[in-house]
C-alpha cells in the first residue's frame, strides 16, 4: 500500500489536472466572481471612507458565496459515475481523500480570491492603514476555515436529498464565528487597529475544526 500522503498527492494532482484540462469550471468561476464584484459595486456605491468600514463585510460575503458555489462542485466529479465507490472498495484511507479535496478547494478558492481582491480594491478605492501582510494571514486562515468545513459538509450533503441547498444550510451556521472573525479582522486591519485577538481566534477555530473533520470524515464517507 502506498503511503497516505502519496495517495493524497495523486488525488490532488488528478483533480488539478482535470480542472486544468476542462478549464470550464475555472473560467466560469472566475467570471462568476467578477460578476459578484460588479453586482456588489452596482448595489453599493460608497465613498472611500465608508467603504473602508464595510469592505471587510463585502469581501467576505462575496468570497463566501463564491466558495459555496465552488464547494458544491467538489464531489460532483466523484459521484458522477459513482467513482467514490471505487475509492471506498480500495485500501486507500479516507483521510487522504479528504485532505486532497481540501487542498484542491483551498487552491481553487484562493485563486478566486486573488482575482477578486484587486477588483474590490479598485472599485472601492481601498487603502489599508494597517500592515498588509496581516491581511494575507487573515485571508489564508479564513479561507482555510471555509474550505475545511465546506468540504466536510459537502461530503455530508452527498448523503442527502436536494444536495445543493444542503451545503449552505449546514455550512453557514457553523461558519458564523469564523466569518465574524474574518470580517472584524479585515476591518480592523484596514482601519489600522490591532487584529491580534481575531487572528488567534481564527487559528484556534482552524485547528479545532480541521482536527475534528479529520476524525469524523471516515465515518461520513462510509455512511451509505
Amino acid at each position: 500500500m502506498s503511503a497516505p500522503t502519496g495517495i493524497t498527492r495523486a488525488t490532488l494532482l488528478k483533480d488539478l489536472r482535470l480542472e486544468w484540462r476542462s478549464k470550464d469550471a475555472i473560467n466560469s468561476m472566475l467570471f462568476f466572481s467578477l460578476l459578484v464584484v460588479v453586482v456588489f459595486s452596482f448595489s453599493f456605491d460608497p465613498s472611500a471612507e465608508e467603504s473602508r468600514q464595510i469592505a471587510g463585510g463585502l469581501i467576505w460575503v462575496a468570497f463566501l458565496f463564491a466558495a459555496v458555489v465552488a464547494l458544491n462542485q467538489t464531489w460532483a466529479r466523484e459521484i458522477r459515475n459513482q467513482v467514490l465507490d471505487a475509492y471506498r472498495v480500495s485500501p486507500a484511507p479516507a483521510n487522504s481523500l479528504f485532505i486532497a479535496k481540501v487542498l484542491g478547494n483551498f487552491i481553487f478558492v484562493s485563486a478566486l480570491e486573488a482575482l477578486m481582491t484587486p477588483l474590490f480594491i479598485v472599485f472601492y478605492r481601498l487603502r489599508s492603514l494597517g500592515p498588509a501582510w496581516q491581511l494575507l494571514l487573515v485571508a489564508v486562515l479564513g479561507t482555510w476555515a471555509l474550505v475545511v468545513n465546506g468540504t466536510f459538509f459537502a461530503a455530508m450533503s452527498l448523503r442527502t436529498r436536494s444536495r445543493e441547498i444542503m451545503l449552505p444550510l449546514l455550512l453557514f451556521p457553523i461558519s458564523i464565528p469564523a466569518l465574524l472573525a474574518m470580517v472584524q479582522a479585515t476591518t480592523s486591519i484596514l482601519n489600522g487597529e490591532g487584529a491580534r485577538f481575531w487572528i488567534v481566534l481564527l487559528v484556534s477555530y482552524d485547528l479545532v475544526f480541521t482536527t475534528v473533520c479529520l476524525l469524523l470524515f471516515e465515518t461520513v464517507l462510509n455512511a451509505e
Partner: protein, 240 residues
Amino acid sequence: MKRAFPILGIVTAILLSYALCMALMPVTHIWIFTVGAPTEQTMGNVQRIFYYHVPSAWTAFILFFVNFAASVVYLIRRRPAADIVALVSAEVGVVFCTVVLITGPIWARPVWGIWWTWDVRLTSTLVLWLIYVSYLFLRRFSSSGQTPTLAAALAVLGALCVPFVYLSIRFFRTQHPQPVIGGGGSIDPRMLHVLLINWLAFSCFAYLVCWSRYRLEKLQRDVDEAHALESLLDPRGSVR
C-alpha cells in the same frame, strides 16, 4: 416505570400552574402563604415575561448539552438509544430556544423600544438556534440509512462551535441584563424564588416532553422494525 410517567405528569401540571400563579400575580398574602411576585418598578408588568424567558433559556441550554453528550456516546458506542436521546433533546431544545427568541423581542419592544439588537446574549442564542435547526434539517433530509451517524457528526461540530460563538461576539456591546447567577446582576429574592420555581416547572415539563417524545420515537422504530420483520417473513419481501 410505567407508573412514573403519570405521576411525573401530574407533578409537572401542578408545578406549572403554581408557577403560573406565582409569576402572574402581584404579591398577595393568603392566610400564611405568600404568593405572586413583586411588580418591577421601572418595567412594570412586562417584566413578568422574565419568568418564561429565562427558564426557557436555561432549559434549552441543558437540552443542547444533552444532545452533545448523547451524540458523542452514539459516535463511540453506536447505541440507537443514544441517537434517540440526541434527536429528542435537539427537537425540544429548539422549541425552548424558539420560546426565548420570541419572548425576548416581545419584552425588548416595550423596554428598549426596539425588537432586536446585536448583543452578545441575543446573538449567541440566535446562532445556537440556527445550528440546531440545521441539525434537524440534516436529520430530515438525510437519505441514507446512516442518518444517526451524520447527525452525530454535525452535533459534535455544532457544539464545538458554541465557544467560538461566545468568543467572537464578545465585543458586541451589551444591552442585555447580566446573568442572575454567577454574574454581576442582583435580583429581589422574591423574584429569584419565583424564577427558580418556574425553572423547576419548565425542567419537569421539558423532561416530560422529552420522555414522551422518546417513547414515541422508540415505538415508531419498533413498529418499523416489526414491519421489517414482517417483511422478512412475508414471502414477497415487502409489506403492502
